[in-house]
Symmetry: C2
Subunit: 236 residues, 2 copies
């Protein structure tokens, strides 16, 4: 409730909410593509031109709060100190997105059903998710600046975190928002942290020593182990 107040210069016009409500009413009733912007503004009782004053496109009305959430995430990542563990930090950042979804379960579920069956909305959602992923990756790139392959690791870990988050989120959305979303996300993110949070190459690469330790799993293809050793030994 109190979270819907205005902030940072963005006033809270009731018109915006009215447009979102009218849009979703029609989208759920007759489908997204069968609803024109004229239909929405007619139901909301406002002029057509006003719609595009609040939403740059018809798709934006489906994701009215992602812009704010993205700003929250970037602020959260900018606030962190250099002491906290990078992978854990981006996992916490991902939890911010989950919280936004969990704040309005019914709305989130409705939107999920909508985006699932409208290709155009799925494409739009991808661009939204991509911006989250870029925010995480940029943060990790800064933190990994000293590492060899820092940007690669940053991109991969950011993608893995987003994928894990989305996997758990969609699982929760598919269950109509029942149950606790955070536990599934915690589990998913723990998997990512177990894969990247541990001790692969970075510690060795950061402080070269006389001894190289390689941990390999039984069954892992030999050539891949060799590749890793080659990279660790400095590649020549």
């Amino acid at each position: 409730m109190s979270s819907e107040k205005d902030e940072a210069g963005t006033g809270k016009p009731p018109m915006r909410d009215a447009l979102v409500a009218a849009a979703f009413h029609l989208f759920l009733e007759r489908g997204y593509e069968q609803t024109t912007v004229d239909d929405i503004v007619a139901l909301a009782g406002v002029g057509r031109r006003s719609f595009f004053r609040y939403f740059p496109s018809k798709e934006d009305v489906v994701f009215p709060d992602h812009e704010r959430c993205l700003a929250d995430m970037t602020a959260f990542l900018a606030d962190g100190s250099d002491d906290d563990e990078p992978v854990g930090r981006v996992c916490d950042a991902a939890r911010l997105v989950l919280r936004m979804y969990a704040e309005n379960p019914t709305f989130s579920v409705q939107r999920y059903r909508l985006t699932k069956q409208v290709p155009g909305l799925r494409a739009y959602e991808l661009s939204v998710v991509w911006r989250y992923e870029r925010a995480l990756a940029e943060y990790l790139r800064r933190r990994f600046a000293a590492r060899r392959d820092g940007t690669l690791q940053a991109d991969v870990i950011a993608a893995a975190v987003v994928a894990a988050h989305n996997n758990a989120l969609r699982c929760w959305l598919r269950s109509d928002g029942r149950g606790e979303a955070s536990t599934a996300v915690d589990h998913a993110l723990a998997y990512v942290q177990s894969a990247f949070g541990g001790v692969p190459v970075p510690p060795v690469a950061e402080q070269p020593e006389d001894v190289v330790v390689v941990v390999a799993r039984r069954g892992a293809p030999l050539w891949r182990v060799v590749q890793e050793i080659e990279a660790t030994l400095g590649r020549g």
Copy 2:
């Protein structure tokens, strides 16, 4: 002239190529958004209606070969046997995409510059990449069906593979297609495999007997280290 026979519904009329050529000529000359479909068909000397017969949207003309590549990838994944290692298989599948880019370096670089500065094209590219990622994830889901958290691992690994591939690909594209693209991609994919390499459950502590630890002195000859690992892994 040559064997331009239709295969699986994907015909190759010269008109399609003419439209792509005309489109890119104009896109590079005056920009994507400053070029209308009418401009393209006028330059190609064909009717406007024919454009949309070959390309469902204006954006599709920028990615004329991804549909075929996606089909190749799904076929490649469907062909594999149950013996090959799943993560290695999806890495090889990703290399198919790289090969498509590397086949036409100049075209790929031009398209990269275009998509980098046109938001609409970036969004479209995301939807393309998403379909590749889904193909990989679906394959891994099948292979991981028996695992606990199989779908989670499948989604995360697919995302990591795609991110690693794209990181290396973009690095190559930024260098104007100079150098060998495959080495950068191999290196990036090796990183992903080192994090996820064929292991059922990530936590190492649960199955310590499956882990092999090798300690080597820096400067030790590589072949000697490999010999040691080979022996320890039991003829990998």
